[in-house]
């Protein structure tokens, strides 16, 4: 009896406490919560800047292109759909379609980075850099940190597409959706709310 219990525990039915009630890998949810708190703090920084220096905030925000930001939002939510469809296909036992959907999600991840690069190049052409103002310091910190997550996400999706088990793909997809979720919060606060 005891041996059976020990064997079951060793097989990976670990008790994650409250985290066990979440779908997928519990550690990925810890990461999602952590990232929401980190990016939430950065967005609170934008809010504080709006309060302390509304004129400086307005000048900085006016130099941003909300169309480019909105385009990138649509690109990311579409890549989120593609990776979710990859998981759906893998759960249904379809490995090749899962890899194709995952590849499509990665292509859109690259498109996101390309649009971001165009935005950064436009700012550089106007002589705008990280030290131009407090607004742009926070802008480059927030969007640059997010872009670094996109790059890491592309590596993660590449790995889980290669080792394409249901659990791996679900975990990689959760990381990608976290990037998507964070951008959905960044876009209105940084680009739209005036």
């Amino acid at each position: 009896m005891n041996t059976a219990v020990e064997t079951e525990t060793d097989a990976g039915t670990d008790d994650w406490g409250a985290l066990s009630a979440l779908p997928g890998n519990p550690l990925m949810w810890v990461l999602i919560l952590s990232e929401m708190l980190v990016f939430g703090a950065l967005l609170a920084g934008f809010a504080a800047m709006h309060l302390i220096d509304p004129a400086g905030h307005a000048v900085g925000q006016a130099a941003l292109d909300p169309i480019m930001g909105g385009l990138n939002t649509i690109v990311l939510v579409t890549s989120g759909l593609f990776i979710a469809l990859a998981v759906r296909a893998r759960v249904d036992g379809q490995i090749r379609p899962a890899r194709l959907w995952s590849a499509a999600a990665m292509v859109l991840g690259v498109v996101f980075l390309a649009v971001k690069a165009v935005e950064y190049a436009d700012k550089a052409a106007l002589g705008i850099g990280m030290e131009t103002s407090n607004f742009f310091t926070l802008y480059y910190l927030t969007t640059g940190f997010h872009a670094a997550h996109v790059i890491a996400g592309l590596v993660v999706l590449g790995l889980v597409s290669w080792k394409c088990t249901v659990e791996n793909l679900e975990t990689g997809a959760a990381f990608w959706h976290m990037i998507d979720l964070v951008w959905v919060l960044i876009y209105p606060v940084v680009y739209l709310i005036r």
Binding site: A47, V77, V184
Partner: protein, 88 residues
Amino acid sequence: MPSARRLVLAWALLTALTVASMVAGSMGAGMGGAAVILAVTLIKARQILDIYLNLRAATTGWRVAFTALILLILGIVLSALALAQVLP
């Protein structure tokens, strides 16, 4: 795991709400416009959590906790905007 149809519906809603936010942002309707944009953002974040991340399969406590965290972040932003309008 949601069906492919449910995932596509969530994407359509996310895309439509993003376009609506862009339009509202271009109109620049002050505090009212900001409140609408942030309300739309809450709906979008919940769609990603509930459908893409399948949080609807979790307990009510977790769903409430994630909603509360998003509300906290967006609430701080809206409060700062409101205070900036009031303070000299």
